[in-house]
Symmetry: C2
């Protein structure tokens, strides 16, 4: 397979461009460049002028805000098939947040200009864009809700429940899975600091809901855990 046609193959499977004809995908593919990034590399920082759109072929990256005090708040984690910076490509403004990889990544890039031109000829792509931006907006509203109504403890529990559902394996001891990153990274996703993640994990263990062995988590009492999401005291 040539480089070019492998790009086309990737694009065809991206939700953003589903619905295009093979010919259209091929035309579009001509404008993309493939890039590789190592773990922890920065694609761009908030405030940078928008150069173009990124599409993830493999690996994961995180969209985040960082504060002068070194705190970080993760807005989203995107995996294969996901895209980044749909918005500023269209409104012309700067990137509203920074993006870095959390795994080695293979990424397709298209310049703002090229994508813009393509969209003018294919209005249905703009509608897809609206759907993607919409989904992002809903997630942001969810983050705001969590930040202003819940405690760190509840946010952590919510994250654990999500992880358990997403990649938990039922074993003889309970539902088992691995934390996606370090405690530090979890803290960034929950909008807090490392110590609180560590402490709250220990506390959940002390309460008999979890079993924590380094990064391996065993949920012993799923109903009990979920119950913490409802109650407020």
């Amino acid at each position: 397979m040539t480089e070019h046609s492998s790009v086309a193959a990737s694009l065809a499977s991206v939700p953003l461009f589903s619905g295009l004809s093979p010919d259209e995908v091929r035309m579009l593919a001509a404008h993309f460049i493939r890039k590789r990034y190592g773990h922890g590399e920065l694609l761009f920082s908030e405030g940078d002028p928008c150069r173009g759109l990124y599409i993830i072929e493999s690996g994961k990256l995180r969209i985040f805000k960082s504060s002068p005090n070194g705190r970080e708040q993760v807005l989203a984690v995107e995996g294969p098939g996901g895209s980044v910076a749909e918005l500023p490509v269209f409104d012309g403004g700067p990137y509203p947040a920074s993006v870095s990889t959390i795994e080695d990544c293979q990424i397709l890039f298209v310049s703002r200009q090229d994508l813009h031109n393509f969209c003018l000829q294919h209005p249905e792509v703009a509608l897809k864009m609206l759907a993607v931006v919409g989904a992002r907006l809903r997630r942001l509203v969810g983050i705001i809700e969590e930040l202003s109504f819940t405690t760190v403890r509840q946010r952590l529990v919510a994250a654990l429940v999500r992880l358990a559902q997403a990649k938990g394996k039922q074993t003889d001891r309970g539902i088992e899975f691995e934390l996606s990153g370090t405690h530090q990274e979890m803290a960034h996703q929950l909008g807090t600091v490392r110590e609180l993640v560590s402490r709250n994990l220990m506390r959940l263990q002390a309460e008999g809901l979890l079993d924590v062995e380094a990064r391996n988590i065993v949920v012993l009492d799923m109903p009990g855990l979920s119950a913490l999401l409802e109650a407020n005291p």
Copy 2:
């Protein structure tokens, strides 16, 4: 002026539909209904299925999330020319937040179906939509940033500075303006409770930065106030 043509006149001045020809605006106007709401009325609640799009002719309304414990977090305040629920109209999902008026309002409403049909024939409206949704997304990111990086005090100061710039009048004593609502409403916008707004205002007064007389604020030391936005101690 007939009812219908006055609707058309209003629509023509809304950013979302600027760029349409007078004929197009007239066609669009036929699908709108004018509604009136009193102060404090609820247009819809989060989770409701999306019926259509709202455009504000006069008055103000607030988009907010509310928690089971009675807390509220305001996501945006929209005034004349603003629109509400652009997103769910397109992605078909439920409303992600609730909306209520904070003044008497005159509002134009169009059903999801009618707007959808119109957009299919006028793709440029979809692009405008993208811009509006984009602006909203940026504001949400800003809220997240404030919630996770700043204190209530800093958020309050930021809000005061914004108000001072927006509607402050230079007088002999300093920059003078009125709070937009009750302390309770401010608290909802800052994602906190009434008491903290009250206390922090008093504290700023004690520090000689403000003069507070009921709902009337006089900024005595604008540089000093702005300085609080930078420093972290």
